[in-house]
Amino acid sequence: MDKQELEITIDTNGKVSIKVAGAKGGQCLDITKPIEEALGEVKVREMTPEYYEQPAEPFKVRSNQR
């Protein structure tokens, strides 16, 4: 079995930050999307290197280059 862990921070204005650990590919989006939708508007969504390890499906990601 795999352990999946979320670290969630809620600031004093109700702004929520979520870090996902242990989910690969697009799986992490399946976890956080319902939470994001229930809360409101997504401000920032950054993919970290693990996301690209095992691409489950083609997915468009905003370029990280400036």
Binding site: D2, K3, I8, G14, A38, E50
Partner: protein
């Protein structure tokens, strides 16, 4: 770590709003009015009955989100900034816990930081 997300919370779910107000220890009434200056009344969808001074209400706007309504000058025991921040944070917490429980996560850590932030660690095995 797979990804990092930041969401600004909107108050849109009535049940979760009522639940969060109750968790904060307030008495809540639905579909009623609140009083302001000189006994004027205004209709609200949800009212928080304060022990003294004027009450605080919420109305559902056309965009599907709730707004705070009060004659803040006469509200006692809290103020607009403090009350708004407290409710927004508690609403976000109530919503997050509701959502993660649906996905089979359990809260393994919950603490309030010195900065006032709430930090949660939740876990599931798949």
């Amino acid at each position: 770590m797979s990804h990092f997300t930041e969401v600004a919370t909107k108050i849109a779910n009535k049940e979760l709003l009522v639940a969060c107000l109750k968790e904060l220890g307030y008495t809540v009434e639905e579909k009623t009015t609140i009083k302001g200056y000189r006994g004027q009344e205004t209709p609200v969808d949800i009212a928080v009955r304060m022990r003294q001074g004027y009450d605080i209400g919420f109305t559902l706007g056309p965009d599907g989100t709730y707004s705070f309504v009060a004659d803040w000058f006469g509200v006692q025991g809290t103020n607009q900034q403090e009350f708004t921040a407290k409710v927004q944070q508690q609403y976000a917490l109530t919503t997050v816990i509701d959502q993660i429980s649906r996905q089979g996560f359990n809260v393994v850590e919950q603490q309030r930081e010195a900065t006032g932030e709430i930090r949660l660690v939740v876990r599931r095995w798949v």
